[in-house]
Each structure stands twice: as structure tokens, then as C-alpha cells.
């Protein structure tokens, strides 16, 4: 019986009065992919920090290779072969790939002479091992996100990692890139590397994980095996489809474990009756954004889901519509009027709203208060003489705090102090305050825990019921399928298909996203 590579027993950790971890036990065997799931606030980050030695547990034991370890520090964790791949790569953007790999692997002694030949050779070798086709001299800032991730994994491998912690690694990968990553992970697994895989994407967990541990409120509530012990079908790029029926039961069970209650209303049923055509786009093109010939309509009260792989151009399309990268050709019409949108300001004035994908950088301003964030898009409208009236602002904010269920003590709280789900609600409040005629949502529930997800979905349905036209971009297929009245699919900057809600399922949508022939009749409206 192999010793577990890592065993955590009854780990507790408190920060002041807050008990972040109340008793977590986790076992990691060599050569396994062990998923770690839990809502935001369940304790995942704290647990990771304890495994990497950034925090010390208050109670409980850590065993590595069967030996008890006390006072694990980042340096010793590193020595034990524990490496972490974060969502935001911790790379040096201005330095070359060679140097990024080298700095991580070399001892940080200042007086050493640099051997560029050795560095080059080692980088080439590691890049080959992870299957990355990257010129080693390239500056990291010029690499795409998945390429940067591969560099990080190459680094970890070079450092002799035996335990790899991956935190939401697929957040910005296309389906094909996810497949490549999973293939790489399976290869690592075959070599005895253990991987702790943290993700909100439950269908991926069913694809790649051997076991899953669920955290809830700082405790482990269960560790289960995933799937059968039969070897999985070798990943063929492009064949990433929704999990087979037999897993949907375990899927719900998993959510139940995470949340502790039934979340049946994750996708509230559609009650809205779409009205007349409200928003239409004809032949839209923008060279800088890589969009061409895009045409579609949305009716008042209708939710058009926009599916496609990452890199298909959906966020770029949203940015064109909202005026961040204005279009060079084609037309946009809202409420029958033609729009000239050359800046976000024009877009807002015309009645468009955009909830961006990058919440922390574009969706809200973390250092400013909830009230300031909520009124930010309507400053000119709310205060036409440009004179601020703080009472009015606060009252408006209070209304949205109440209506959207934002958990906060006061409207003056810094948005940075809120949880992800509440931050998203503030961002949404900002756009609702503009009373838009058309709302573009870009990954509205990304990084949001299951409970808040359901609330946000309910809000979106309500907005549609009130007559708003909604364009919802999402990379989560269940969300697209569950929320949309119609689904448009993008690939390589163009719209390749538009499906009616009823006529679409995971397979047809994925096929359209990948550009394969589909049996369904697809057409442009």
C-alpha cells in the first residue's frame, strides 16, 4: 500500500475570531488527480496556503511521504516538491521564457555567474516535455494565457514537483487547450505526480479527476471517487462534450454536498414572452478586434446566449458593441435607431450596458465605495449640472443593496472588501442604474459561488421579464443551455450558427463552436 504523498489530518486555522478551517482532512496519493471543490468562503484558499507553507495551521498534522512535518515554510514546501500554478501566472512579463524558467529553478544567490547556454538548453528541454511550441527567447508578455500556463508547468516540472496544485487552470483556455492540458496532466499522473485540481467547473472535474474532496464551511464533508475504474477514453482534441447521462446524478449530488441544500433553482425557468425586435446588428466588423460580418437580433425580453470557445471573439464582439474597440463596418440598431458608438460613453448614452468579464479590473473599482461604483456610469445623468449630491447617491445605492441582496454593512464600504459574488452584484447594480435597453453580460457568474450564482440567474430572468434585451456570453455550457431563449455560436470572429432554445443541446452547440458539421438546421435570423 503506497504511502500517501500528502496527508492532512484535522487541520484547523483561525484568523482572529474567524475560523477559516474547522477540521480538514485530505489524502493525496501519488499519481492521482484529486479535485478540490467548495463554494467561495469554504476554505479552499486557506487550505492551499497551508499546503504551500504560506500559513501555519493552528491544529492538526501534515504528513509528507508518511513523515510528520511541522512548520512547513514556502522554501521547504518547494524542497518537498510542492508547486502551485495560479490563475494569474506569476511570471515576469518583460523577461524571456528562458529566464522565467531559469530564475525559478536557480538558487537565488546574487553572486553566481549566469550561463546562458545551460539556461537555453534546460528551457528547450522542459518546453518539449510539456509539449509547448514556444520560441524560448520570446518575452512572456507576448505569450497567450495558455502558453504562459505551459511555461509555469514547465517551471514546476523543472523544479522536480511531485505535488502540483492547480487553481482554476482552465479559466481562460479554449476547449482544445483544455484537452491538451488534460493530456499533459494524465502524462504527469502516469509519472507519479499528484495533482490537486481546484475548479468551479464541475463537468471538467468529472472528466479529469480520480477523486474529489468537497469543502464546506471550513470542513471536509466528503471524498468520493469519480467515474468508474475503467481507463478513460484517450482525449481526442475537439471531442469535449457534455458528460454522459449517468454522471448527472452524481453531479447534483456533488452540488448538494457543496452547498448543503438542494439547488434546484440554479436555472430558473423562462417566464418571459419576448416582444418586438429591440437590438439588431448587421454585418458588423472590426479589424482590430478580429470580428467580421457579424449579424444577429435580440428581441425585447429575450436572452440570447453567446457560446463559443475562448478566443472565438465573444468578448471582442462585446467590446465592439460597447465602444471600447469601435467597429469599422456594419451597423448597430437599438429600438429602431441606428447607433454610432465610438466610446463606452456613447454606448451608455444610447442605452447599452456591459458587465465585463474581468470583474476586478474592469467591472468595479475596488478601492472605491459601493455607492461610488454604482453611480459611476450615470454621473452625468444623475447630476446634470455636474454637482454631486451625496445623499441622493447613498439612497440610490441603498435601494440596489436591498433589491439585489448585496451583503454589506453600509454603502460606503470599499468594494474590495466584498466577496466575489457581492462584487458582481455591485457591478450589475451599476449597469441596472443606467436603465439600459440592452444588457451585455460577459461570464456573469465566473468565480461566483453556487448560492450567488442562483441569485444572479434569477435577477437576469427578472430583467428579461421586464422587457430588457440580454446578450449573455458564457463559457459554461449548462449556463448557456439553461438560461438562453436562443443561442448564437461564435467561432474565429464570426457567428457560425444561431439556434432556437428548444432545438439546441450540448452536442449541437459544441459542434458549431468547433466548426464541425451538425445535423441540426442552423440558420441566421
Amino acid at each position: 500500500m503506497t504511502d500517501p504523498l500528502l496527508r492532512l489530518s484535522n487541520i484547523t486555522k483561525s484568523f482572529g475570531a474567524v475560523r477559516a478551517l474547522k477540521g480538514v482532512s485530505l489524502e493525496l496519493l501519488p499519481g492521482e488527480v484529486h479535485a478540490l471543490v467548495g463554494e467561495n468562503g469554504a476554505g479552499k484558499s486557506t487550505l492551499i496556503k497551508i499546503i504551500t507553507g504560506a500559513h501555519q495551521p493552528d491544529g492538526g498534522t501534515i504528513q509528507i511521504d508518511g513523515e510528520a512535518v511541522t512548520h512547513l515554510k514556502p522554501a521547504s514546501a518547494h524542497a518537498f516538491g510542492i508547486a502551485t500554478i495560479y490563475q494569474q501566472p506569476a511570471l515576469f512579463p518583460d523577461l524571456s521564457v528562458i529566464e522565467n524558467i531559469a530564475i525559478a529553478l536557480e538558487k537565488p544567490s546574487g553572486t553566481r555567474l549566469v550561463r546562458w547556454d545551460d539556461r537555453h538548453a534546460r528551457a528547450v528541454e522542459l518546453l518539449r516535455r510539456v509539449g509547448a511550441e514556444i520560441e524560448p527567447e520570446t518575452e512572456v508578455r507576448r505569450l497567450s494565457m495558455p502558453q504562459q500556463q505551459l511555461v509555469e508547468i514547465a517551471r514546476a516540472l523543472g523544479a522536480g514537483a511531485r505535488i502540483l496544485l492547480m487553481d482554476e487552470p482552465t479559466a481562460s483556455l479554449t476547449g482544445q487547450e483544455v484537452d491538451l492540458l488534460f493530456a499533459l496532466m494524465r502524462g504527469l499522473r502516469a509519472n507519479g505526480v499528484a495533482i490537486i485540481y481546484i475548479s468551479h467547473r464541475l463537468q471538467e472535474i468529472f472528466q479529469i479527476a480520480d477523486r474529489v474532496t468537497v469543502l464546506r464551511d471550513g470542513e471536509t464533508v466528503g471524498t468520493r471517487l469519480i467515474g468508474s475504474s475503467q481507463p478513460k477514453e484517450a482525449a481526442i482534441p475537439g471531442k469535449t462534450i457534455a458528460p454522459p447521462e449517468s454522471d448527472t446524478f452524481t453531479h447534483a449530488e456533488l452540488i448538494h454536498l457543496m452547498v448543503g441544500r438542494e439547488v434546484s433553482a440554479l436555472f430558473p425557468p423562462a417566464e418571459n414572452k419576448p416582444g418586438p425586435q429591440a437590438f439588431s446588428v448587421r454585418d458588423l466588423g472590426c479589424r482590430a478586434a478580429g470580428i467580421q460580418g457579424v449579424s444577429f437580433n435580440i428581441r425585447a425580453g429575450e436572452i440570447l446566449g453567446l457560446a463559443g470557445l475562448v478566443g472565438a471573439g465573444r468578448t471582442e464582439l462585446a467590446r465592439v458593441l460597447f465602444g471600447i474597440t469601435p467597429a469599422d463596418s456594419g451597423s448597430i440598431e437599438l429600438g429602431g435607431k441606428r447607433l454610432e458608438v465610438s466610446s463606452p460613453r456613447d454606448a451608455v448614452a444610447a442605452g447599452l450596458a456591459y458587465l465585463p468579464e474581468d470583474r476586478r479590473r474592469h467591472g468595479v473599482i475596488l478601492e472605491m465605495s459601493i455607492a461610488a461604483n454604482i453611480t459611476m456610469a450615470i454621473l452625468a445623468r444623475l447630476f446634470p449640472q455636474n454637482w454631486m449630491r451625496f445623499g441622493t447617491e447613498r439612497a440610490l445605492a441603498q435601494n440596489y443593496i436591498r433589491d439585489l441582496g448585496i451583503k454589506t454593512m453600509s454603502p460606503e464600504t470599499r468594494v474590495g472588501a466584498l466577496s466575489g459574488g457581492n462584487q458582481q452584484k455591485v457591478a450589475l447594480a451599476r449597469w441596472l442604474a443606467t436603465a439600459p435597453k440592452m444588457l451585455i453580460l460577459d461570464e456573469p457568474t465566473q468565480g461566483v459561488d453556487v448560492g450567488a450564482k442562483a441569485e444572479i440567474h434569477k435577477l437576469i430572468r427578472q430583467l428579461a421579464a421586464q422587457g430588457m434585451a440580454v446578450l449573455m456570453i458564457s463559457s459554461e455550457l449548462p449556463e448557456i443551455l439553461g438560461m438562453s431563449d436562443r443561442i448564437a455560436v461564435m467561432r474565429a470572429g464570426k457567428i457560425t450558427a444561431i439556434f432556437d432554445g428548444a432545438g439546441a443541446d450540448a452536442r449541437t452547440v459544441m459542434a458549431a463552436a468547433l466548426g464541425k458539421q451538425s445535423n441540426e438546421t442552423s440558420g441566421f435570423n
Binding site: 514556502p74 512579463p93 546574487g110
Partner: protein, 303 residues
């Protein structure tokens, strides 16, 4: 590239510019700026800034002069000057790296403090009556210029090699590119930042000495505008204000370019008062050209 253009213009309009002695004398005025510009490039690459170099320069110059006047042997006085510069740099570094204070504000404060302190101390008085061994190290003009050139070339070479082949040099780039990532990799950004300011100070001290030996007295107003010149040279030479990138060869080109303005004006028979204006214009042009290139590049790629 711009340097080439300027030289071409000069060659066409005033061939007398390229006479040997003239070039050598340009070089000797350029030396101090080059050393300081190299130091400040390191600072900028590590994502900081230092606007107190002018005051440091003046202080080290006066100190060197006074020590020689007190009959200290030249090598000892030189070391003292370099050491004094290093101490000034250490002071800056301690506040910036140790307390995390923004470098522009700290060096603003130290610039004013040291400059005023020096003015109070010297009351504008030059350091006179220096022994003959002071000017040009007692070697006479040609000999002295060669010595200065040699020392500078040596230091410059060491710096170029250091930033490429010494891991401490690479750490400067790493910290400037992403200090947090550097910390995670085991580098200590505070130590690197502190070290960079100390090196800056030492280089300033050396530059002060090499400049002071050109004359037989020391002017306490020396070093005025040095921070502007060296930052300008660095920026024109391709060092990015955002940190993490820049090459010392580019800095050399920048220094030469800016140094050629004044004599070029003389040769082109333009009034010398235009020097500052031209300097400012060139900085703006260089940065504009770089900015234009970036804007065009981002427009053609997916945002």
C-alpha cells in the same frame, strides 16, 4: 538610430565637428553623465526613480575637492567620494526599500535637503587652491582625459557584463518586471532595490570625481540638471519607465545623442540658449516615437 541621424546632419552642415580633439572633449563632458545615466537606468529598470543624483553629485564633488585640499592622497579621496555617494544612495534605499515609500517622493525630499544643505555649508564658495595633483590627476590634459576615459570604459564594461552575466544583475530586471513574482522565486526585492540605490550613489560619486578633475577648482553648483540629463538619456536610450527592460548600450547612445546637442548648436551657429529647448524637444520626440509604435502595434493585434 536618432544618433545616427543627428551625426549625419552634422556631417553635412559642419564637417569641422568631427575633428579629433573636439570629439575627445565631448567625450570628457559625457563621461560623468554616462556613469550617472547607467546608474539611473538600473534604478529605472527596477521600477524606481532617483531625482536626487544632481545633489549627490555636487556633494561628492565638493567632498573630493576638500579632501584633496586637506592633502589626502588622491586614491583615498576618490574612495571617499565614491563612499559618500554610496551612503547617500543607501539613505534613499533604506527609506524606499525598507519602508516602501514611493521613490519619487523620497528622492525629491533628499534632493532638496542635500542641495540646500550643501549650499548652506559652502555658501556658494568654490573649493580653491587645489594642489596640482588634482587636475587631471596630475597627468596633464591628454593624459588625464585618457585616464578618465579608461576608467569609465572599465566601469561601463563591468556594468554591461554584470547586467548580463551576474545573477544579481538579472535580479534587477526580475524585480522591475514583477516584484511579487521575484519574491516568490526566492529573490528578495528589498535587498535588490537597496542595492540598486547604493550602486547609483557610488556611480554618482565616481562620476563626480571624474568630472571634478577636469578643472582646478570645484564649483558647488555642479550637477545642476544632471537628473534630467541622465533620465532623458536613459529614456531616449530605450529604458522603459515601467521597469524590467532596457540595455546599457542604448543608454550610451542616448547620452551621446544628448551630449552632441550643445556642440552641434555651436557648429550650426545657433544661439546656445536653445540647448534646453532642444533637449526637451528630443526627449518628447523620442518618447512620442516609441509611444506611436506601441499604439500602432496594439491596434493591429487583438486587444
Amino acid at each position: 538610430m536618432a544618433l545616427g541621424a543627428l551625426l549625419l546632419v552634422l556631417a553635412l552642415l559642419a564637417p569641422g565637428f568631427f575633428r579629433g580633439g573636439q570629439l575627445l572633449s565631448i567625450c570628457s563632458t559625457v563621461i560623468p553623465v554616462l556613469l550617472v545615466a547607467c546608474g539611473i537606468s538600473l534604478v529605472i529598470i527596477s521600477r524606481q526613480i532617483d531625482i536626487s543624483v544632481g545633489s549627490q553629485f555636487a556633494f561628492c564633488s565638493i567632498l573630493a575637492g576638500l579632501l584633496i585640499q586637506a592633502h589626502w592622497p588622491m586614491p583615498l579621496a576618490a574612495l571617499a567620494a565614491i563612499g559618500a555617494g554610496a551612503c547617500c544612495g543607501a539613505f534613499n534605499g533604506a527609506l524606499i526599500a525598507g519602508l516602501g515609500l514611493p521613490s519619487i517622493v523620497v528622492t525629491l525630499a533628499t534632493m532638496v535637503t542635500w542641495r540646500e544643505g550643501l549650499r548652506w555649508w559652502r555658501q556658494g564658495e568654490f573649493v580653491h587652491d587645489l594642489p596640482e595633483t588634482f587636475q587631471w590627476f596630475g597627468l596633464g590634459q591628454a593624459g588625464g582625459q585618457t585616464a578618465v576615459l579608461f576608467i569609465t570604459a572599465l566601469v561601463f564594461t563591468i556594468m554591461v557584463l554584470g547586467t548580463k552575466y551576474l545573477s544579481a544583475g538579472r535580479f534587477v530586471y526580475a524585480v522591475g518586471s514583477d516584484a511579487e513574482a521575484a519574491r516568490l522565486a526566492g529573490i528578495r526585492p528589498h535587498v535588490v532595490t537597496f542595492g540598486v540605490f547604493v550602486i547609483m550613489g557610488a556611480l554618482t560619486g565616481l562620476a563626480a570625481l571624474l568630472n571634478a578633475v577636469r578643472f582646478n577648482d570645484v564649483d558647488p553648483r555642479t550637477g545642476t540638471g544632471l537628473e534630467l540629463q541622465s533620465i532623458a538619456a536613459a529614456v531616449v536610450g530605450g529604458v522603459a519607465i515601467s521597469g524590467g527592460r532596457g540595455s546599457l548600450w542604448g543608454v550610451l547612445a542616448g547620452v551621446l545623442l544628448l551630449a552632441c546637442i550643445a556642440p552641434a548648436l555651436v557648429f550650426l551657429r545657433l544661439p546656445p540658449q536653445w540647448e534646453k529647448a532642444l533637449q526637451g524637444g528630443i526627449i518628447l520626440l523620442a518618447v512620442t516615437a516609441d509611444g506611436w509604435r506601441t499604439v500602432r502595434a496594439s491596434r493591429s493585434s487583438l486587444s
